[in-house]
Every structure is written in structure tokens, then in C-alpha cells.
């Protein structure tokens, strides 16, 4: 059984009072400090919506009631669709899903213990791999194809996704022309412009630049995406001590302000646009100002972010499940698992970056997708929690078995054993003898075997007619 979309929320790092304080401080920042908007289009949209705008300083300020009015327009729940309906996800409330993330420049090969530049072929292979990994529910375009000029990147990245997996494809975008081409291509795949809006097979990401800034490129991109009615996440990436206060609460304020500004811009542009509040908040290594992808504080910040999103009744895009390790070692496992678990238990809707990423999110590793698939299966089991009813309390059974008895042969055991207990697909639970006889394989060695098997058994591809139409109507696609 695959667990997805279950309600999290059993872990609450913030009390109701803390949520309220973060909110009040965020409102104070938006009203008193203001927000820089470098995109003229975006700035005029804010002005038209009643914000106090200082055009010279590109500064936008809004009072709390205006913020509330604009945020309330945003849907509290959005559906992201896969080409296969079984892969649809509904973000909102406390439902939890996990997916890949990006955008990495390198691919790590654990056998050679080396990295290399990522290519288009990596995107195709990883999409094909993720298509077969049940606990990775969404496919976010994970790598940057280094061999392509930037104007060809957007459309080729999304094509690689749509042509290799039936899961929903989300991705960052780089150029306005690219965004338009990607949307046209997705309309062809969906069947029509209307079909794409009804069943959005793709979604995009436009980043807010912490602290308190929407830059020209991303501002224009966000407006363009929203005008086209394509679901969009607008995450912010405040880094403790660098682009936000070093304190977690201060970081949370900046994160809340920044992402809310993005949400509001989409709603001013096109009310009702499916938008996702987002966080890539994390710590900084203050010895060298390095962005950290596996710190425990990142788990806390994104868990708290999920609570803030629930407070605003907005779908949430969290970041977790990564590591800063350079290899598939213990650090890689514990950092990935702890950060993903904190997000999931707090009810983060879409935990992105949750598979495959390492080394400050600069590198992906095929084997780590398989390892993280197992880790996410365990995380989702934890989200499922403990069901307590007469059947699971099992008084009658305990009475029947009695002192000194056993439950091995009980029908009750048979009925519940597979559902109550996560069944691993990668972890080693062999006896030492069997493990030795099997070649003493470590986790990543077993994962490498699975990668080979899964890649050999892929792959999904778009229907021929659709592919031909895409090639005929969209320029620059590399096949």
C-alpha cells in the first residue's frame, strides 16, 4: 500500500500563541517596513490593489486588513494533476505529500565516488526512476541541463518530465519566453488550453528573494504564470544570520512576509490563481556563509512554516529530506530522515527536495532517490500514526491468547500485519549469515542494483501523436 495525502499535524513546534506572534510581527513588517518590488508590472499591480507604493524606492506597504483581504482570495486547496489521475494530489489542510526538488547542477556517482555535470539525459532518467518510486508523489524537475543555452532550458526540462513520468511535473523557470512555451507544450499534452486549466499537469515556481524583495525577473515571471492560471509556488529562502535574523522566530517572520507577498501578487494579478505558500528557509554555516540543506533547524523552520500555512489556510510547499553530505553515508541518512519527518509530522502539504538531493542541494544522486523512497515510506507511516479502536486494541484477542500465549498464528495478526507495519523495499533485515551470503551489501549498493533494475524497466513516454505535435509546434526541443 502506498501512503500519501494523509493528515499530519501530530507535531506542533509552534503553540497557538507563537503562531499569533509570528503573524502579528509579519503584519507589522509588511505595514511598517514594506517590501521591495523591482518588477514595474508587479509594482503597478500592488498600487492598483490599494497598497501604499513608493515608486522611487520600489517599496510596497500594506495594512493587515488589506493583507487578509488579498490572502483570502487565494484557494485554500489546490489540485495538482498527473497524466495518470491516480497520481493527482490535493494540497491544503494538513495533507502530506513528498516529492523531488531542484535545481541541482551535478550528479554524484557513488560507485566512482565522483560528481559530474548534470545533463538532459539525467532529467529523463530521474523522471523515469521517480515514476516507479511509490513514495515520491510529485516530480519536481531536479537538475539543470548544463549543455543547453538558457533560452532552451525551460521547455526542455518540462518536456523531459512530461515525456518520462505520469506524475505531476513541477519546476522552476528561467525565462518569460520559456514559461510561455512550457504552457503551450503542456496545453498540447493536456489536450487543450482549457483541459490544462482543469487538470494542471504542470506547475511552476517563482522565488521571492529574501529578505523582503521581489526582483524584476521573478516578479515578471510570477505575474506571467498567474495571468496564465498555472499553479505556482512562491517560496522564500531566508537563511538564518545571512538573509534573515539568526533566530528561528525571526527567520520565520521573514519567510512568512516574503512568501505572503508572492501569494498576494498572484491574487492581484489573477484572483483565484492556484498558489502555494512556500519555504526553503534554513540555517547558514556562519563560518563560511554556506547554505545548509540538512540542518535540524531547517526541519524546525519548515515544520513551523507548515503551521503558518495552516493558519493562513494556504497550501504549503516545504523543504526537507536533503543532506549536506558528499556521499551516501550515515549523515546522508539522518539529515534526510530527520528534516523530512519534522515537516511531515507537522502536516506540510508538499515536502519538496525530499528525494535525491545532497551537498547543499547542488548535487543529486540516482541511488539516493531509491534510498529516500524507503525513508519517505517510513515517514508517511509515521504520519499515519496509531489507529485506536476496538479492533486495534484487540481485547478479545488478548483474552483469547491469554498469559504466555503467542500472537503469531492469530488471524488478527494476519489481518493487520501488512497495514499496521511499513514493509521495507530496501532496508536490510536479513540475519548476519544471509547478509554475508548475499555479498555484505550496504544500503547504497542495494540501491544501485535497484536503480539499474528500474531504469531497465522504464519507461513511460508521451503518446506518439502528442510527441509529434509538440515537436511540430514547439521550437528547440531536444529529443
Amino acid at each position: 500500500m502506498t501512503r500519501k495525502g494523509l493528515d499530519g499535524g501530530s507535531f506542533k513546534v509552534l503553540t497557538e500563541e507563537s503562531i499569533s506572534k509570528v503573524h502579528r510581527t509579519a503584519m507589522q513588517v509588511i505595514e511598517e517596513v514594506g517590501f521591495e518590488v523591482q518588477s514595474d508590472t508587479a509594482l503597478e499591480l500592488f498600487a492598483g490593489a490599494g497598497a501604499i507604493v513608493d515608486r522611487e524606492k520600489h517599496l510596497v506597504r500594506l495594512n493587515e486588513s488589506k493583507v487578509k483581504e488579498l490572502v483570502d482570495v487565494a484557494p485554500s486547496e489546490i489540485r495538482l494533476c498527473g497524466q495518470d489521475e491516480a497520481h493527482d494530489v490535493i494540497l491544503g489542510g494538513r495533507r502530506v505529500y513528498a516529492g523531488t526538488g531542484g535545481t541541482a547542477l551535478y550528479v554524484y556517482n557513488p560507485t566512482a565516488n565522483q560528481t559530474r555535470l548534470a545533463s538532459m539525459e539525467d532529467l529523463r532518467c530521474i523522471a523515469g526512476l521517480v515514476d516507479k518510486l511509490d513514495n515520491i508523489h510529485l516530480f519536481m524537475l531536479p537538475t539543470y541541463p548544463n549543455e543547453l543555452p538558457v533560452e532552451q532550458v525551460d521547455v526542455n526540462r518540462f518536456f523531459a518530465g512530461l515525456d518520462n513520468t505520469t506524475k505531476h511535473v513541477m519546476g522552476g523557470v528561467y525565462t518569460l519566453e520559456g514559461v510561455k512555451n512550457v504552457i503551450r507544450m503542456a496545453e498540447i499534452v493536456a489536450g487543450s488550453a482549457q483541459a490544462l486549466r482543469q487538470r494542471p499537469l504542470i506547475s511552476m515556481i517563482a522565488c521571492i528573494i529574501s529578505p523582503l524583495r521581489i526582483d524584476k525577473t521573478y516578479g515578471d515571471l510570477l505575474v506571467t504564470i498567474a495571468r496564465n492560471g498555472i499553479p505556482v509556488a512562491c517560496p522564500a529562502e531566508p537563511l538564518c544570520g545571512a538573509t534573515s535574523p539568526v533566530t528561528l522566530a525571526g527567520n520565520l517572520v521573514v519567510q512568512t512576509v516574503d512568501s505572503l507577498m508572492g501569494v498576494m501578487l498572484t491574487q492581484i494579478t489573477n484572483p483565484g490563481t492556484p498558489v502555494i505558500l512556500g519555504s526553503v528557509a534554513t540555517s547558514t554555516d556562519l563560518r563560511n556563509l554556506r547554505y545548509l540543506a540538512g540542518s535540524i533547524e531547517m526541519g524546525l523552520l519548515n515544520a513551523a512554516g507548515a503551521q503558518m500555512a495552516q493558519f493562513y489556510q494556504l497550501p504549503f510547499y516545504a523543504t526537507g529530506g536533503m543532506t549536506d553530505s558528499k556521499t551516501l553515508d550515515a549523515q546522508s541518512g539522518y539529515e534526510s530522515a530527520l528534516t523530512a519527518l519534522l515537516c511531515a509530522l507537522s502536516g506540510a502539504n508538499f515536502i519538496h527536495d525530499a528525494a535525491g538531493l545532497m551537498e547543499f542541494a547542488m548535487t543529486v544522486c540516482y541511488e539516493k532517490y531509491v534510498i529516500d523512497n524507503e525513508m519517505l515510506g517510513m515517514v508517511m507511516r509515521a504520519v499515519d500514526g496509531i489507529k485506536v479502536d476496538d479492533d486495534t486494541l484487540a481485547f478479545d484477542l488478548i483474552k483469547q491468547v491469554g498469559p504466555g500465549g503467542n500472537f503469531v498464528a492469530a488471524r488478527h495478526t494476519r489481518r493487520f500485519m501488512r497495514g499496521e507495519h511499513y514493509q521495507p523495499t530496501l532496508s536490510d533485515r536479513d540475519s548476519r549469515e544471509d547478509w554475508e551470503a548475499g555479498g555484505r551489501k550496504t544500503t547504497w549498493e542495494r540501491a544501485a542494483e535497484k536503480v539499474k533494475e528500474l531504469l531497465a524497466n522504464r519507461r513511460y513516454s508521451l503518446p506518439d501523436a502528442t510527441r509529434q505535435q509538440v515537436f511540430a509546434e514547439i521550437e528547440d526541443i531536444v529529443d
Binding site: G404, N406, V408, A409, A410, R411, T413, R414, M417
Partner: protein, 230 residues
């Protein structure tokens, strides 16, 4: 359709359904006849007992064994199937004797004196019954003399001894020694098992076989049984 009943017996062994009330493996089985009802139907229809046993019961267990090897079935699944076969064999027992079909024999099992562990021994019992043996389970913490007396009175083909503690495994040697002193050793094959027990230990105390787990225990008994017949 007589063939159908045998096929259904086989299928219900695979499902691990003793009676119609058992839920089995797949959805929607509750209410349909289980192995008990089907065996009775088969007997009422005068189907050959040989077919019920080999095609129905053993045929089903063979598939269960494959599913277990493949990791699809867990121990509780295997036990459910073995239990179903055990119940069927009990129903068939009187007829088996009459029809002249050779039964697989009797095995007495016990956990030795001062040892209170019996999960492993109980699993072995279920599996042996599932393999078609008549099993008499004496229980746990059983006096050496009680075991010896049972062998004398019941004259089983096999004796299975279990111990889970290093402090109690020596009792197994006691049982074997006293059987020898009473001239009973040669009439019974003895297999031993339990976490601290090893192949080496089994040899050192003069046992005939050792099973590392329930499935190996059955395999060892089967091997000893065919050895006896040859």
C-alpha cells in the same frame, strides 16, 4: 463438479481458510466454504482421499511455500495455511486408515524442564500438522520422565525437543540418555531446536536432526522419514 471441490480445497489452503468464517488473504472470502466445509463436501461426494490429500492439501501447501520463499507470504500466512491442512487431516484421519493410505506418522513435541518458551515449538507443531503429521504437543517445562513415558506409551516415530535457554539445553541430553537407559532410543528419531541450539550441539548429544527454524524442522523430519522408509 468433483474436480472443482479439489481445486477449491487447494485454493482455500493457499488462502489459509479453515472455515467459511475465515477471511483469508483476498477480499470477499468470508462466507464462502473453507477447507473444513470443502473436505466434508469432498467426502460426501466420494472423491478419492488420495486426491484430496495430494492435489488439494499438499498442492496448496506447495504454492504457500513458494509464496513464502518469495517474501510475499509472512509466517502468520504460512501458519494459517498449515492450520487449515492440519484440521483437514484430522477430519480425514479415520478414512485414511481405512483406505490403506500410509500416514506420515506421529511426532511428540515438548519444551524441556525449566524452560517456559513455547512459541517456536508451537509454530513447529502447526507446520508439522500442515505437512500431514499427527502431532502430540506435551507443552512446556516438561519433566524428562514425562517425555520418556510418553515415548514409551505413544510409540511415536519422532520426538521434537525445544529449549530456548543455554541453561536448559542440557536437559535435551538428559532426555536422550534416559531413553537410551530404558532401551527406547532406537525406536524414535529425535530432532532438537531452539535459539541456543546448533547443528554441532545436536550431534554432540546424539540427536538425529536439528532444525534452525520451523521450516527447516519440517524438512529435517521429512528427510528422516524418507530415510526410515528406505
Amino acid at each position: 463438479m468433483p474436480e472443482d471441490i479439489i481445486g477449491l480445497i487447494r485454493e482455500n489452503v493457499i488462502q489459509g481458510r479453515i472455515t467459511k468464517d475465515d477471511e483469508g488473504m483476498d477480499e470477499g472470502m468470508v462466507g464462502k466454504p473453507g477447507v473444513t466445509e470443502l473436505v466434508e463436501q469432498a467426502l460426501a461426494s466420494d472423491l478419492p482421499i488420495q486426491d484430496i490429500v495430494t492435489k488439494g492439501l499438499s498442492g496448496g501447501m506447495e504454492v504457500v511455500g513458494q509464496k513464502f520463499e518469495a517474501g510475499e507470504y509472512f509466517i502468520p500466512d504460512m501458519l494459517a495455511s498449515a492450520e487449515a491442512v492440519g484440521v483437514a487431516m484430522e477430519i480425514l484421519q479415520p478414512r485414511l486408515a481405512r483406505s490403506g493410505i500410509k500416514t506420515k506418522g506421529t511426532i511428540i513435541v515438548a519444551t524441556v524442564k525449566d524452560d517456559l518458551h513455547d512459541i517456536g515449538k508451537n509454530i513447529v507443531s502447526i507446520l508439522l500438522r500442515g505437512a500431514g503429521y499427527a502431532v502430540k504437543d506435551l507443552g512446556h517445562n516438561i519433566d524428562t520422565q514425562v517425555i520418556v513415558d510418553a515415548v514409551r506409551e505413544e510409540r511415536p516415530q519422532f520426538l521434537g525437543l525445544s529449549a530456548l535457554l543455554t541453561s536448559t539445553m542440557a536437559r535435551m541430553a538428559d532426555v536422550i540418555q534416559i531413553l537410551e537407559e530404558n532401551g527406547l532410543r532406537d525406536q524414535v528419531k529425535i530432532i532438537v531446536g531452539g535459539a541456543p541450539v546448533s547443528e554441532e550441539f545436536a550431534k554432540s548429544i546424539g540427536a538425529d536432526g536439528y532444525g534452525a527454524d520451523g521450516f527447516q524442522a519440517v524438512a529435517v523430519v521429512e528427510a528422516l522419514a524418507s530415510g526410515t522408509e528406505n
